[in-house]
Symmetry: C2
Subunit: 544 residues, 2 copies
């Protein structure tokens, strides 16, 4: 028997309509490509989103059409999220850090009709224009005064589009499963694959994280997404933020430590979200200034594992660390590191033990680990297996890619993350490694992430990656590739001493290779694929 | 084009499974009919809910079957919410304050298969047993030691049912629109009508209020629902509470001021939810004791309008008032009175002006007011019209009642609340009256609620109701029916002086009728229908 309740489609446009009604003074504050700080309230944003939606329809954009963006975090990018999805089209965010080949592949694979581009990225598009779909319309995200000279054919001006359009929209109803957003994985192997989000998945994801991360999502607070709007919905902030009455501070292109410090300090930002690399820069600037930015109390770290030393540095300055884990295919949040209040009076070390894990599932996400035969393993903190996930914000396949779709889910309909993990009895998830990054020495597995986290505690190591290199006897042996700080470099012997507390002798790296920088993926993670390529000629000390 | 995301049914059982995983130390604390205080954690509650679900299936309960409850707020009642809905059956909560005729009507109309009853209400059922469905199974909500002697045929013992059942359940998947709960309106005219909630509507309602009322729904806090689990899901707390990691303090039968004060004080309750009548009792006890209960910082008042004097009394003791409005047909929350943080430094009077309204919509509820022709009226704070609502937690009709269902929605699919209201430009809703309680004098409307709120400010008036009485010249004229305090009674002249600040002369009541108590409905509101009946022989002063 079914209930007798209304069925209203969960629609993304309803989030902004609510925010404009409920939080009339909350703002989107943007460091613009034009060089200044721009502020607009949610009611003002709604007006402009309605104008943009009307303009898109006038340009002939229809339900299901893909509209691409190539832009920094800013109010115009935010407006595109709502206007494009509001009329039933698909907002396809493109990561400008992808390779040129990947960019060309993606725009053609998505068959984008329009592409909205920040002035910064106009040259990038000009260079590949001839390889993009013929009918593609270019819109430059600035006003008439700042329009650059460009070879992009028929390029339109964003602010011109909005002019004269009505500031109200009667958002149409459609199936809540209608596609709303498209984001391609950076894909270390093969072509990028597109996660095709729906209105239902994005609205539910926003509610899930707003309910679970109550400390961040409090009305009136300012939150700064360093995590880009061009990748995985900026971890859901553009949806959950307005729903909960946050002001969003958009950093634009300047993501170095001093720039972030200055912006956070000026705007009294409470919470900032981003990948570990970004926080290395901010922590250096905090050290330089001898203080943290004004009002800073909460940091959400995801994208890759946060080293314990980083978590400790923040916690010691009363910045609560939410260590989160997720994937493009999960919209993206899967787990979070907010600790329950009964741990408040635990000693720091015991709290760090928990915060160093990937944390516990958010409401609406289920986790399971399985062995090689697909049999469930227990949540006992010991069993290690491949991690599968399930939930309304998890993909059931990929956009226009039958082959990848066929491989995405297991027989029970769970998504295979490609991560190898354990889960303890209280639900804390520990990602041991990407399945393909595990190091296999003499038939035993070694977690590269564990080695990296422990090595990062040494003051001479600014960043590092552990990888397996071929070895004639052991098959593979771990080495550490490290970026030095100004401190005196750690010797291999000293490193072994540091690590021996946590690792067996056979798990210790056989060598340290010092490099100026580590190769990064388009989403700010160390690219072990490229690192292994770069070290193709490396010879193991014993072999050498 | 549809997104490529998983579709998992929104299920009520997932809320408790999440709470048990995420908040292992949070508790349900119950003042029991057995006379003691009982405590159990969410993991313990999950164990027992699974046992109960297995027991129900063993008793032959199938998808869609109605399972009734007649019980106070307590852990067993909470367990029934989850076990019954978890197996796809319908938890039919019955209000024990309904008349005997209504009780008999409801149990037969719902065609309940089982009825779970607190020891308190066993005599009530015994008295009407012969009028209830023949196959009805009675389960008394206590353990073997406390089982009363009873004439209820074949009465079972709750704790006996659970014994030996498995403590885990593989909750089955079903359509998220599957019916989960049934609650009849108290119905001032005609038979009660059943609102049939679904898994989708209850889960979304829980997320909606947890997101919007972030101050109440903070992990680790204790919340006490005075509002009964036997009516409208206790305003959603049994679902939103566990989702957000609250501990719930269940007061059982003792809802007088001294009992509530003692329980709140002992348990350090942060937030308490209930109707205005309850708070009159608590405020009297607070005055008596010269202090508020330990830890008390938040009160949610709904069910009927809170007088300004009550809101002021709480705010002055640093208890934040969330003045909420809703209906059985809305699951029930529609609007809330949490003020945005930019009003924090406003003077108290200005904040009270807003808090005295019914507040603003929660995320997921839409409001409109229309004139007699169904045309939309503006949100300008002046236009007054009938209030319609829309949202996923609003009914689309009534259980097994085609006639009432046909009348429930307007042509656009909105639900008619029967309230007459205005909405200001910032979205604050003011309910002027129930449409049928408006007083019409000389062709002009007078709001009975406004008169009552203003009159309540006088120290001699403990409670009051304004009603229209027939008048030969003006059609109807307002009078005030008042319950006195110990203070010297206000004269009509003094009352006019008090009210003349807010009302035109012709709107002032023509008489004060002192009574010992006001007739109440089963949900704790003043029954104006019964009041008008009781005063059927009343003669207007001019006529008299």
């Amino acid at each position: 028997m079914l209930g007798k309740m209304m069925h209203r489609p969960l629609r993304i446009s309803d989030i902004l309509e609510f925010a404009a009604d409920a939080f009339p003074t909350a703002e989107i504050i943007s460091a613009r490509t034009e060089g200044d700080i721009h502020r607009q309230t949610y009611p003002e944003t709604r007006d402009r989103v309605c104008q943009l939606a009307h303009a898109l329809q006038k340009l002939g954009v229809e339900m299901g059409d893909r509209v691409a963006t190539l832009a920094w975090n800013g109010y115009r990018h935010f407006e595109l999220y709502y206007a494009v999805s509001g009329i039933g089209a698909v907002c396809h965010t493109i990561n400008p850090r992808l390779s040129v080949e990947q960019l060309i592949y993606i725009v053609n694979h998505a068959d984008d009709r329009l592409i909205f581009v920040d002035t910064t990225f106009v040259p990038l598009l000009e260079a590949v224009q001839e390889h993009l779909p013929k009918g593609l319309t270019y819109v430059i995200m600035t006003d008439r005064d700042h329009m650059p000279a460009t070879s992009l054919v028929g390029a339109l001006c964003y602010e011109d589009l909005l002019k004269g359009q009505p500031q109200r929209m009667d958002w149409r109803d459609f199936d809540e499963n209608t596609a709303a957003g498209l984001c391609y994985t950076s894909g270390t192997t093969g072509h990028p694959k597109g996660a095709l989000y729906s209105h239902r998945s994005n609205v539910l994801h926003a509610m899930m994280i707003a309910v679970t991360l109550g400390n961040t999502f409090r009305e009136g607070q300012k939150v700064l997404p360093v995590v880009p709007l061009f990748h995985v919905n900026a971890w859901g902030l553009p949806y959950a933020g307005p729903m909960a009455g946050l002001s969003l501070v958009m950093p634009g292109p300047a993501l170095d430590g001093p720039s972030l410090f200055k912006l956070m300090d000026q705007e009294n930002v409470y919470s900032a979200w981003g990948v570990p690399t970004v926080w290395l820069g901010l922590l250096a600037e905090i050290k330089e200034q001898g203080r943290k930015p004004n009002g800073f109390g909460d940091v959400v770290i995801g994208g890759s594992a946060a080293p314990r030393s980083m978590i400790e540095a923040f916690e010691k300055m009363d910045v609560s660390v939410g260590h989160a884990w997720g994937m493009t295919e999960m919209s993206p949040v899967g787990t979070h590191g907010t600790l329950p209040s009964f741990t408040n009076d635990w000693p720091l070390e015991k709290r760090l033990d928990l915060k160093q894990t990937q944390g516990r599932r958010v409401f609406g996400v289920e986790l399971k680990i399985v062995d090689d035969d697909g049999e469930r393993l227990p949540n006992d903190g010991k069993a290690v297996g491949e991690l599968f996930v399930r939930g309304n914000a998890v993909v059931a396949g990929y956009y226009n890619n039958d082959e990848a779709t066929a491989e995405a889910l297991d027989e029970e309909g769970w998504f295979g993350t490609g991560d190898v993990a354990s889960i303890d009895k209280d639900g804390y998830l520990t990602i041991q490694d990407r399945a393909k990054d595990l190091i296999k020495s003499g038939g035993e597995w070694i977690s590269s992430i564990d080695l990296e986290n422990a090595a990062m505690a040494h003051p001479s190591i600014a960043n590092c990656a552990a990888i397996g290199v071929p070895h004639p006897k052991w098959d593979e042996r771990p080495i550490l590739v490290a970026v030095p700080t100004d401190s005196e470099r750690v010797t291999l012997e000293e490193l072994h001493e540091l690590l021996s507390e946590h690792f067996a002798k056979w798990q210790l790296p056989d060598d340290i290779v010092w490099v100026d920088e580590l190769p990064m993926t388009a989403t700010g993670k160390v690219s072990k694929l490229n690192l292994r390529k770069a070290l193709a000629d490396y010879k193991h000390p014993e072999v050498h």
